[in-house]
């Protein structure tokens, strides 16, 4: 839909569990079968720490009156009988309005740039010769600058749960990445004592 992969979920809890590492790009919620449940769901995902937006609501014509005083719960709505093309067009417009219309294919932070399209990483203009897992780890960290991740979280998000070798694998790869970044840029990945690792500056740093 609008070039995005999608997942069907039943309720707020399922939406939370199925959420991809970089968050939902948006949501389509249908109020056709269970209007109260749907409005409840809208409210829940809007009240999260990072409110889920944009949100497209699908309603039946006879439900239009129920939208009154609920304007804060959705960004746009469409009738259930709408053509798929209309839903797609509305979604595209919503995503454009919220700045997500074009998918970012470059992550840049200070001297580091990652081209997600070509899998290439560059630091101060120098290409980094990374292995696949080093690239994946750097991509994940650089996509969340300032955030501290435990080894366990990195292991599950970057390697997947089935990986055997434990948290030390993360340490090994972090060291390899730092070695490749070179002395000058090794500090991009910081060790947060007895917690884990952080890419870039702390979120609250001046």
């Amino acid at each position: 839909m609008a070039g995005y992969p999608w997942t069907a979920v039943g309720d707020a809890e399922a939406a939370r569990r199925a959420e991809p590492e970089d968050g939902w790009t948006g949501a389509i919620i249908s109020a056709v079968e269970d209007p109260d449940g749907a409005f409840g769901l809208c409210r829940t995902v809007r009240k999260r720490e990072t409110p889920l937006t944009p949100l497209l609501l699908i309603v039946e014509a006879h439900q239009l009156a129920e939208l009154e005083l609920r304007e804060d719960l959705f960004d746009d709505f469409t009738l259930a009988r709408a053509m798929p093309e209309e839903i797609e067009a509305r979604l595209g417009h919503l995503l454009w309005r919220t700045g997500r219309g074009k998918r970012h294919d470059v992550i840049a932070y200070g001297p580091l740039a990652l081209n997600l399209e070509t899998y290439q990483a560059v630091v101060s203009g120098r290409p980094l010769d990374l292995t696949f897992m080093e690239y994946e780890l750097l991509r994940f960290l650089a996509a969340h600058p300032g955030k501290v991740f435990t080894r366990e979280v990195l292991l599950s998000r970057v390697w997947g749960y089935e990986y055997f070798g434990g948290a030390r694998t993360v340490d090994v790869h972090i060291r390899r990445l730092r070695a490749k970044l070179g002395e000058e840029h090794a500090h991009l990945i910081e060790t947060v004592r007895s917690v884990g690792y952080r890419f870039g500056r702390a979120r609250w740093a001046p």
Partner: protein, 445 residues
């Protein structure tokens, strides 16, 4: 898997890689390689590349000699040095299979994988951190008497000489390849150097050792010198060892550590050491596989000669380094007999198997050898129940031949080929008349 392949293919395209080298290792631990072009890469990642294994040491079989090299996309790495003008070259390590797709028994990487799988069944991951010693010699000819490049000794602050420069360039190149170096220093003997690597899982480390040996030699060659991992190139000075630190982790926790123990060493750690000691003689032919290896394992040069362990006694075969308080992940054992000319895949496999056997059978750890063993007489050693390591390749092969543990770990193919090849080496050596004999006997007899 799919995205790893995609990563390799895109990187080859984006970086203008001209050749991709496929790396694998023969049974004796010699690096073998062949190159393919980017055009062949996609298919090679899917299906592997067939080649004739009959010219590879230990790969030969009676009937079928064709085998398939399957590149491991996880190990894809662009090489920081060029093999030809303007050529960007990348490499991948390979697993070898038979034509029907079943794993090839002669592949050392496969032997180590199998040993690691057995450890995984018991929920253990195996980590290794080796210290590689080697010599730099002048010239490019590897024949004749080696000429040293410097006269420095351990930790000596030398003036900027060629070997310091070589070592520095080597460390920088390794770091560029994502191989972090813990220390690099001048060793005891003239022209001898040491590179200590930060731990990784044992399979990655065996791959890494193959890379390090190549990089060290390559960089020496570029500067008109040569590097050798020969265990004892010069009589009368230290040989080159590969002391290696090992640990087992279980669910992210160091299985060798016990906070309740005075020295922090757990029961699992004790049993692992006991296993190593019990099977030390049997695995020595693998960890020290050359006639020359046993010229290093002699008294008086910090190389172990007896089967013993201690907390901080550098004459022991197994040492348990003192760990800073609270560094629970650092508790480890150091196995001091291997030399850097071993096949790291096979060496790690038999070391792991010996240690695991100790855990499985709950071997009792003998008393610590806290005195300097080099100063004890054979009679005193025997009284203390301390056995010697095999004194030469012949004795080591005899101990290996009787070992069910080594046969099981290496598999029949490698076990038999190795014994046959090494017996021939010993026989060839026994037929030689050496300079030692000529200078002593010719005038006297």
């Amino acid at each position: 898997m799919q995205s790893q392949r995609e990563y390799v293919l895109r990187t080859v395209e984006e970086r203008g890689v001209r050749f991709v080298q496929f790396w694998f290792t023969d049974v004796l631990g010699t690096a073998k390689t062949f190159s393919i072009t980017p055009a062949e890469l996609e298919n090679a990642l899917e299906e592997g590349m067939t080649f004739d294994g009959s010219s590879i040491d230990g790969f030969s079989r009676v009937q079928e000699s064709d085998v398939i090299a399957h590149p491991d996309p996880k190990t894809f790495q662009i090489l920081p040095f060029r093999t030809g003008p303007e050529d960007t070259v990348a490499r991948m390590f390979c697993d070898i299979s038979n034509l029907d797709g079943s794993p090839f028994d002669g592949d050392p990487r496969r032997v180590l994988r199998r040993a690691l799988e057995r450890a995984h069944e018991r929920n253990f991951s195996f980590f290794a951190a080796p210290e590689l010693e080697y010599f730099y010699f002048a010239g490019s000819e590897t024949t004749g008497t080696p000429r040293t490049l410097d006269a420095g000794s351990y930790f000596e602050l030398t003036v900027a000489d060629l070997t310091t420069d070589l070592r520095k360039r080597t460390v920088l190149t390794l770091e560029e390849m994502g191989i972090p170096v813990e220390y690099a220093q001048h060793e005891d003997a003239p022209s001898q150097h040491e590179i200590d690597l930060r731990y990784t899982d044992a399979l990655t480390m065996a791959d890494t050792i193959m890379t390090v040996r190549l990089v060290v030699k390559q960089i020496a060659k570029e500067r008109g010198a040569y590097a050798t991992f020969m265990p004892k190139p010069l009589a009368g000075v230290q040989g080159s060892g590969m002391h290696t630190h090992f640990s087992l982790f279980s669910n992210g926790v160091n299985a060798f550590h016990d906070p309740g123990d005075e020295r922090g060493l757990s029961l699992v750690g004790r049993q692992f050491i006991a296993g190593l000691l019990e099977h030390a003689a049997e695995i020595t032919a693998v960890t020290n596989q050359w006639v020359n290896s046993y010229k290093r394992l002699v008294s008086g040069y910090e190389a172990p000669v007896n089967v013993s362990w201690a907390y901080n006694n550098r004459s022991a075969l197994v040492r348990v380094p003192i760990v800073k308080r609270g560094k629970t992940d650092s508790t480890r054992i150091e196995f001091r007999s291997p030399d850097p000319a071993c096949n790291p895949y096979l060496a790690f496999a038999v070391i792991l198997a010996a240690g695991l056997r100790g855990i499985e059978k709950q071997y009792e750890l003998p008393a610590e050898a806290d005195t300097n063993l080099f100063l004890m007489t054979p009679r005193e050693l025997a009284k203390a129940g301390i056995k010697p390591l095999p004194k030469n390749l012949d004795a080591a092969l005899a101990a290996m031949e009787r070992s069910e543990l080594v046969a099981e770990t290496l598999g029949e193919h490698v076990f038999e080929w190795f014994l046959r090849n090494k017996r021939t080496e010993w026989e060839d050596y026994s037929r030689e008349v050496t300079p030692y004999e000529l200078t002593r006997y010719l005038p006297a007899l």
